[in-house]
Every structure is written in structure tokens, then in C-alpha cells.
């Protein structure tokens, strides 16, 4: 790579953000080939994809709504990653947050939104936090690999969801009618996420997610706790030597990460079309795989909470547009899932290259300025 001159120096930082876009472009190229193989018109397909994602006000609203859980999860993943903890349990944590907030809305008396809304959001936060605390504690104090424990906890969460929605939380009308659909009744209106801008669709979920991202940014780079999290992530031994309670910090990282995923679950329930929780028997049926896709959004955003905002929006658009593509050219939905996987693979595979670009930039910046962030950061540690 040729790196010379002031103008190029500025662009290399932004070039780093273009790499994931290139990866998406490559995935779209593969998509073209697959669409041709399926006898579908790629031009018509991609037009539908773009229009469905960004082509109208309604499309932008759908994209924002789809991006919301991705952003919550992405921010949560970022916090964990910064402490060098990989949280693959977003799916289960979303379910846990959704369940606990649903129970609150269902079992508490009807109250005004001023009380109910914060209550259910807090319960979502707590539910996810519990589901994140378990693997965090097991990792910190027993050395249990968090990837495995979170995967297993996803399995436990789905069975818990199936049990609760089938027995204690089920809509009494479902029993009465004998249809027994595993869903709650319509939850109290006080818990509905309020709508914004006079839209009948756009609720405050996206706004909450953006606020969460800003809060996470402040937490990570403007508070002692954030410093500890990042220090533990970079060098646990040195951190321990410096007197940082490493075990507690690791537990906290996964707990916070889970809590944000739990918020995503609560927003899914109270911002859903049906304003209720329903299961099809699988986690993905509830989460839409946001627990996984949020990880990709976080990587898109260079593991930086602020940049995860546009990244989630873009990725949400891709998912919404994919559904629109499916409807327009009538290909099996499995194609969208396969492409989703390819986007993940391509983005992650080019991540190193992106980091290298950013590191070059950071190294130059370090030469110029005396003060700098701790070295060896994953590349997103500098100011936006």
C-alpha cells in the first residue's frame, strides 16, 4: 500500500470503513450469480432490495426498526469485546430480556406509560443481565469458555420460553378457544413503545438504541469503569498487577453485554406488530437471529459504539431489502439466509485488512501526537 502525503493520510482512515462495504459488495456479486442460477433477474432483485431498504419513508422506517435490535446487540457485543470476552449468547439473552419484561407487563396492574414503560425496559435489561451474568461469572471464577456456556444457555432459554408461553403466560383466550397458540395476550398499552414523528409504525426503539450506543461510548472512554474494561481486555495480567479486579470486571462485561441484548428483546416485544410475545418453538423465531447479526453489525462498526449506529442501519437495510428481494423475484427465503452468512464471512475475513489500515493510521497519529490511547487496541479506540 502506498501511503504518502497528508491527503492520503486522512483518506486511509476512512478507507478502513470502506473495507466492510467492499465485503458486502463481494457478497452481492455472489448473490448475483445465485439469482441467475435460480432463474431470477438480479437487476429486478437488487432494485427491490434497495427500494425495500431505503427507497421510501416506509422502507426507511422498516430498516430503522430492523436495525434496532442489531444496534442494541452490537453495542452489547462491543462492550464484551473490549474486555476481550466473546458474547455469542445474544440470542438467549434477548429471549431472557423479552420474557422478564413480558412478565412485568402481564402481571403488574395496568399503569400509565410513565411508570410502565421504564419498568418493562428495566426488566428487559435485568433479564438479559442475568443471562449474561451466568456465563460471565463462570468465565471469571471457573475459567469456563464463554462461547460454549453462552451457546448452551441459548438452548436453555428457548426451552424456558416454550414452557412459559405454553403454560403460565399463555393468553387465557387461547385455552378457552382450544387453539393453544403459545403466545401471551396483548400486553398492556402502557408498555407500548410510543410512536414518533406522527408515524403509525416508527416507535422510539431506534432512538433508545442510539442513546444506548452513546451511553456505551461514554462508559467505555469517559469513565474509570470503561478504562478498566478496556485494560482487562488488552492485558489481564498487567491489569491485575495494577490492582484492577479482573474477575469482577469480566463478569460485569458479560452482564452489561447481556443486559443490552435483553433490552433488544424487550424492544422486540413491546415494539412488535402484535404487542405480545409469541414463540414458534425456536430462538430465531423470536430474535430473527439478531443475537448473531448484531455481532456482525458491531464488526461493521469497527467495534466502536458510535460507528455501530450507521453499521446497524446498513445491515438492517440489507436484511429488510433481502425480504423485499424475495417477494419481488419469488426465490426461496433460504437464499437470504445463505447470503446473510456470506456477508458475515466476507466482513469478518476482511476485518484484519481493515484493522491494518487503521493501525497504520493510528501509528502515524501516535508519532505526531504525544498523548495516545493504550497501544494494541483493536483499532476503534480513537475518537470518532
Amino acid at each position: 500500500m502506498t501511503q504518502a502525503g497528508g491527503s492520503l493520510r486522512v483518506s486511509s482512515k476512512y478507507l478502513a470503513y470502506l473495507v466492510p462495504l467492499g465485503a458486502v459488495g463481494f457478497a452481492l456479486l455472489v448473490a448475483t450469480i445465485m439469482l441467475l442460477a435460480l432463474d431470477a433477474s438480479p437487476i429486478e432483485g437488487f432494485r427491490a432490495l434497495f427500494r425495500g431498504a431505503f427507497g421510501s419513508t416506509d422502507a426507511l422506517i422498516e430498516t430503522s426498526l430492523k436495525a434496532t435490535p442489531l444496534l442494541f446487540v452490537g453495542v452489547g457485543i462491543t462492550i464484551a469485546f473490549r474486555a476481550n470476552v466473546i458474547n455469542i449468547g445474544g440470542e438467549g439473552q434477548m429471549v431472557a430480556g423479552g420474557l422478564l419484561s413480558t412478565m412485568a407487563a402481564l402481571w403488574l396492574p395496568d399503569m400509565s406509560a410513565f411508570i410502565m414503560l421504564p419498568t418493562v425496559l428495566i426488566m428487559g435489561f435485568v433479564g438479559g443481565a442475568i443471562w449474561g451474568f451466568i456465563p460471565g461469572y463462570l468465565k471469571a471464577y471457573f475459567g469456563v469458555n464463554e462461547i460454549l456456556s453462552t451457546i448452551m444457555l441459548n438452548v436453555v432459554a428457548v426451552q424456558l420460553m416454550n414452557y412459559l408461553l405454553r403454560q403460565p403466560l399463555i393468553d387465557p383466550a387461547e385455552i378457552e378457544r382450544g387453539t393453544r397458540i403459545p403466545q401471551t395476550e396483548r400486553l398492556q398499552e402502557g408498555a407500548d413503545l410510543p410512536l414518533m414523528f406522527g408515524s403509525d409504525r416508527l416507535h422510539i426503539g431506534p432512538l433508545l438504541a442510539v442513546l444506548a450506543a452513546i451511553a456505551a461510548y461514554i462508559l467505555l472512554w469517559r469513565t474509570p469503569l470503561g478504562y478498566r474494561l478496556r485494560a482487562v481486555g488488552q492485558n489481564p495480567d498487567a491489569s491485575r498487577y495494577a490492582g484492577i479486579p479482573v474477575k469482577r470486571t469480566i463478569t460485569l462485561a458479560l452482564t452489561l453485554s447481556g443486559a443490552l441484548c435483553g433490552l433488544a428483546g424487550a424492544v422486540l416485544v413491546f415494539g412488535s406488530e402484535g404487542h405480545r410475545m409469541v414463540t414458534d418453538g425456536s430462538t430465531a423465531g423470536f430474535t430473527g437471529s439478531a443475537g448473531f447479526n448484531g455481532i456482525v453489525a458491531a464488526l461493521f462498526g469497527g467495534l466502536h459504539p458510535i460507528f455501530t449506529i450507521p453499521a446497524s442501519f446498513l445491515f438492517g437495510g440489507l436484511l429488510v431489502g433481502g425480504l423485499s428481494l424475495q417477494r419481488a423475484v419469488q426465490v426461496p427465503s433460504a437464499l437470504i439466509l445463505a447470503l446473510n452468512g456470506l456477508v458475515v464471512i466476507f466482513v469478518v475475513s476482511t476485518d484484519r485488512y481493515r484493522q491494518r489500515l487503521r493501525d497504520q493510521d493510528a501509528r502515524r497519529a501516535a508519532l505526531q501526537t504525544v498523548e495516545s490511547e493504550p497501544a494494541g487496541d483493536r483499532g476503534g479506540g480513537d475518537e470518532p
Binding site: 416454550n162 406488530e273 426461496p332 427465503s333
Partner: protein
């Protein structure tokens, strides 16, 4: 709050004057599994394709994610599709919301019994307990050991209805019935393990519902255990298949089309059952069913039709 539902009784001799779709009619189907799954989703796709008048059929299948299904339902409505079929119990909450936003679009939701009091929503369901009961009666008669096993996914909705009906029918025939819900709609290996467990307990007739049951059918084939299928004709899976309960959703769809031609756009609940021919027991030609067992089944069908037999 009791939902007032008009369960229409359709003339048993349907098919003679099958209702034709209006010119340029477009139907959008949103369903949770693959459109050629030999089961739940295929049954509605086949029914839509069987409609007269050659309506345009658009399909979004495999949308087990509820919010994705909602996006698709909304998408079809926004695209100006005339009738949007939300073919999954779990889509109800979404239909309720979206139908209010698109009052000129007609929605059909199944399997369910609630139209939310909306004038542009139909609900349709299957009395799967009826066919289950009939096959349960025959299963009891065919079983030599008297032990019958049923494999189910999760104890909900249509699956529970079918399993309960089958169990009641088999028990009325004096059989000892054991039910296992594996806890998953997709775990084929666990369905196979369940069937192996039944095989070890001298079970010689089995049934089951949901897409993972193929695992159990496989055991039935190798262990020579008789099988009763549901949701679509499973005879091609092997000569151990005695009979299958098949849904003919066209009975419901034609009624909806008739309503539309009459200017009625929803608010009604329709059901497929033995009486209206929307539910049919299809026998496997490759299985040599003794005449007396078959007549037991036919008696049960008559009994259910005239109300002298209760399936619960």
C-alpha cells in the same frame, strides 16, 4: 371477552360450482416452512394453486421469524395484493395490527379462530382432532400388542389438537396410548429416538405431527411399525403408512372467494372438517387395510359428522 365467530357450514357437496377468483386477483401467502414440505405449508400452497380463475400466487415461505413474516405480510398488502394469507398461528398479533393499517386488503389467518372483530380478516382452522380420532380408532383396531405411540413437537395449537384427537380415538378402541412431545419442531434425530423408544415398548402402531416426524416415520419403515400421517398424504413415504389426514384448504379459500364476490370482506371464521370435505382421510393403496377396520373408520367419520361421537 367472547369473540363472536361465524363458523359457516359449507355445503357438503362442494366442488360442483367452484367459486372463481375475480379477474387479475392476486394472492400473497406467508408461511413458516418450505412450500414443498409435504406438510403444513404445502397444503395451503396446493390449495391456492387449485383455485379456479387463475389468480396470481405470490409466496414467501420459510418465514419462521415472526417479525420477518410481519414485514412480508405488510409488504404484500402495500404492494396491492388482494388477499394476504398468513398461514401460521404465530402471525396473529401481526395480522391484527397490519389489517387495521390496510382496511382495503383482505387478510386470512390460520390456523386460528379469531378475527379480532375486524371486517377485513378471515380466520381458518382445521378440526384436526376429528381426523386424528378416526385414525386413532383404526390404529387401535390394527394394533396387535395394544400399544400405540404418538410423537409430537411442542404441546401447542394444531399439533396438540391432533394428538389429543388421535389419543381419544385409540383409547376408545381400548388401546394403551403413549404420547411424547420432543420439545422441538425441527429435531429429526430426537423424533427418531422417540420412535425407537416406542419400538422397544412393543408399540406396533404410531402417528405424529409436525415437520420433524420424518425421523419417526423412518423408524416405522425399518421396524415395520404401522404409521398414520397428517397434514398431507404421506403414503409415498412407505407401505407402512396406513392412511393420512389431508387438509383441503381450497374449501376455505373458495368460501372466502364466494364471500368476496358477494361483497363480504372478512369477519368470518371457517373450518375444514370431515363434514365439509375440507378434511379427508386418504388411504394408502399399497397398504392392505382389512375391510372391517376400514368400516370402523368410516363409522367413526359418520359418528363425528352426525355428532354422536365426541372427539375429546
Amino acid at each position: 371477552m367472547a369473540v363472536f365467530a361465524v363458523v359457516a357450514v359449507i355445503a357438503a357437496a362442494c366442488g360442483s360450482d367452484s367459486e372463481s377468483a375475480p379477474e387479475g386477483f392476486r394472492i400473497g401467502i406467508v408461511a413458516p416452512s418450505a412450500s414443498n414440505d409435504l406438510a403444513f405449508t404445502q397444503s395451503i400452497v396446493d390449495a391456492a394453486n387449485a383455485l379456479a380463475g387463475d389468480p396470481e400466487i405470490l409466496i414467501t415461505d420459510g418465514t419462521f421469524v415472526v417479525e420477518d413474516a410481519a414485514t412480508a405480510i405488510r409488504g404484500y398488502a402495500a404492494d396491492g395484493v388482494d388477499l394476504v394469507i398468513a398461514h401460521g398461528s404465530q402471525y396473529g398479533g401481526s395480522v391484527e395490527q397490519i389489517a387495521q393499517d390496510f382496511p382495503d386488503t383482505i387478510f386470512a389467518w390460520g390456523t386460528a379462530a379469531d378475527t379480532f372483530g375486524l371486517p377485513n380478516v378471515y380466520a381458518y382452522e382445521a378440526a384436526s382432532d376429528e381426523g386424528g380420532y378416526v385414525m386413532g380408532v383404526m390404529a387401535a383396531a390394527l394394533s396387535e400388542t395394544g400399544n400405540i405411540g404418538i410423537v409430537g413437537p411442542i404441546e401447542v395449537g394444531d399439533a396438540k389438537l391432533y394428538v389429543d384427537g388421535f389419543k381419544a380415538g385409540a383409547e376408545s378402541g381400548g388401546a394403551n396410548v403413549s404420547v411424547v412431545y420432543t420439545g422441538s419442531f425441527s429435531d429429526v434425530a430426537l423424533a427418531k429416538t422417540s420412535a425407537e423408544a416406542f419400538a422397544s415398548q412393543n408399540v406396533d402402531v404410531m402417528s405424529g405431527t409436525a415437520q420433524m416426524v420424518v425421523g419417526a416415520v423412518g423408524v416405522a419403515v425399518t421396524e415395520d411399525i404401522l404409521w398414520f400421517g397428517t397434514q398431507s398424504n404421506q403414503s409415498e413415504l412407505g407401505d407402512i403408512v396406513v392412511a393420512s389426514q389431508v387438509y383441503k384448504w381450497e374449501v376455505v379459500l373458495e368460501q372466502i372467494l364466494a364471500d368476496i364476490n358477494d361483497g363480504v370482506k372478512g369477519g368470518r371464521v371457517y373450518e375444514v372438517n370431515l363434514e365439509n370435505g375440507g378434511e379427508v382421510i386418504e388411504f394408502n393403496d399399497d397398504f392392505d387395510l382389512p375391510g372391517d377396520v376400514k368400516s370402523l373408520g368410516e363409522d367413526a367419520i359418520d359418528g363425528i359428522k352426525d355428532g354422536s361421537i365426541s372427539t375429546s
